[in-house]
Amino acid sequence: MVDKRKLIASSAFFFSLLLFFFLTAGISEVDMDSSLFPPSLSHPFGTDIYGRDVLSRLSFGSLISIALSSLITVTTTIVGLLIAFLMDRKGIVSSLSFLVSNTMKSLNPIILALFLSSVFRPGFMVIFISISISHIPDIARTAYSRITIIKKEEFVLYAKAEGMGDLEIAVRHIIPQMRKEVLTQSISIFSSSILTESALSFLGAGIPVLLPSIGGMLSEGRPLLLSHPSLVLIPSAVLFLISLALHLMHDALDFDS
């Protein structure tokens, strides 16, 4: 069951955050003269140790993070659905796709990202690959368990008897029937990839230091925690709000089922 009111409210919450980021994002140059200014009209959240405006960096970083996570979510969902349909095939194809899904499932995104970024260079590609890989099995499992149920339904059997091809049945009958489950899972992947990405940026293996990122701002602000707590608290609060909006959306979709 879907709680429509809650879904609308949480989506409105998320999109107003997004709008806020769009309106306030900007590139802020290093200016050592204005280092660590308190909040003022020109710098609503103050400036960081290099004199950069916290608000514009924070919004820009959030937008990068949201864009990257959406890309991860879309890729994960498509590949996961593909694997789920392959699992439903017979023989070696099915076994192989179970094997692939199981292999991906046993990888931890953070350790994988740390490993990949010490072998290659840390950056977007490493974040993208390591977070996607560890979440593809989630979609695949969810979709597969739905497919095994839906394919026994009468409308699917009827379509098959009419001579409809497997691909057409998948697109026209099976995918629409598992829209809700897959969407719910995608949203939880979205929020978890935002959190994982910021954790990686915090650890120094995430988004390149030259670009703003919430995790990077947190690791810069951490030594100043006692003298300037806002440098840690404000980015954390923003991350919390994004993640909260997504969790509320997830719960609205997954209401009491």
């Binding site: 179970f98 094997l99 199981n102 292999t103 046993s106 990888l107 931890n108 953070i110 350790i111 994988l112 740390l114 490993f115 990949l116 970024s117 010490s118 072998v119 290659f120 840390p122 929020s191 959190l195 910021s198 954790a199 915090f202 650890l203 120094g204 293996a205 947190l218 951490r222 925690l225 006692l226 840690v232 954390s236 991350l239 919390f240 993640s243 909260l244 969790h247 509320l248 719960d251």
Partner: protein
């Protein structure tokens, strides 16, 4: 029925073992990609071509890939792990770091169970009651909190404003047992909060599923009180869902506590992985990757065997 279950279990164990082989090969292959860089790293950037080739062949990089893979596996399983960039013995380093991580893991798992089971039982006494809704809201907040933020808040509260625990560092158990527990308490507590939130959510959901099943309704109709039915009838089948979760927790705690360990400056496996990554020390991180994958695979197999044992014992638990 029994035979079918056994075949399924064997199939799943085979799947885990095969995926371990794939992962180890991928890890080996990727880490050997950077071998050229290691030669340059050792000899310096403007090394002569023949010196690089000589070093590469002395490290065994010109042999066919399969035999190198077998050597890699043999070295891994005979604990012949080599040295870090700074010249430390990797085996000794990892043994020391892993013991800290395992300690944190055990404290976290025990605390999480101690917190989540009573809380879920208490909340489920009255579905949609105050405790139920309140815990739902709290869980939502904990889920949305970034892990380092939770760690930093705990550190601010319990070691800076109220100085009960040290804010960072580690005292080994041999030096002082109490000091050891004090240094590991805050990192474990912050991990416990995250894990028990997940446990409570899952356990509450499966308890409430069980409470609507016909055998529970039957017990209620026979006049057993709701409290007793929860404990005697619903809890055991509902706790099966915890077992799969438990193995996932072990998997994520072995490595995923990297952030928490870094914030509290605890010398565990996760913070070792982070520092190895920042130093581009591929040999250390390769070993960590292998250990973590092995541990995850083992915990998955154990969880499956336990679930198999339970579902073989009583049919109604398995579902």
């Amino acid at each position: 029925m029994q035979g079918g279950l056994r075949v399924k279990l064997l199939r799943e164990i085979l799947l885990v073992a095969l995926s371990l082989i794939i992962i180890s090969f991928a890890v080996f292959f990727l880490s050997s990609l950077s071998s050229g860089n290691i030669s340059y790293y050792v000899l310096g950037d403007n090394a002569r071509e023949e010196d690089v080739l000589k070093l590469s062949s002395s490290l065994g990089y010109d042999e066919p890939i399969l035999s190198r893979y077998i050597v890699f596996l043999r070295n891994f399983f005979t604990l012949n792990w080599g040295r870090t960039i700074n010249g430390y013995d990797i085996r000794a380093l990892i043994a020391q770091r892993a013991s800290v991580t395992v300690e944190i893991m055990i404290i976290t798992l025990v605390l999480s169970l101690l917190v989540s089971i009573p809380v879920s039982l208490f909340c489920i006494r009255k579905e949609k009651g105050f405790a139920d809704r309140f815990s739902d809201a709290l869980i939502l907040i904990i889920f949305s909190l970034p892990s380092f933020f939770l760690a930093i808040i705990l550190m601010l509260c319990f070691s800076i404003y109220i100085p009960l625990f040290p804010s960072s560092g580690f005292i080994s158990m041999r030096t002082s047992v109490i000091g050891n527990i004090r240094t590991l308490f805050l990192p474990s507590l912050s991990l416990t909060l995250m894990h028990s939130a997940l446990y409570i959510r899952v356990l509450k959901r499966s308890l409430s599923d069980q409470m609507h099943k016909s055998y529970v309704l039957g017990s209620l109709a026979r006049g057993k009180s709701r409290k007793r039915v929860i404990l005697t009838d619903a809890f055991a089948p509902a706790s099966v869902s915890l077992i799969a979760l438990f193995s996932q927790s072990i998997a994520s705690l072995i490595a995923g506590s990297a952030v928490t360990e870094t914030v509290f400056a605890v010398p565990g496996l996760g913070s070792l992985a982070v520092s190895a990554c920042l130093q581009r020390d591929v040999s250390v991180i390769t070993i960590i990757m292998m250990i973590v994958s092995l541990a995850v695979a083992l915990s998955m197999i154990v969880a499956r065997i336990i679930i198999y044992a339970i579902s073989a014992k009583g049919g109604e638990y398995g579902r």
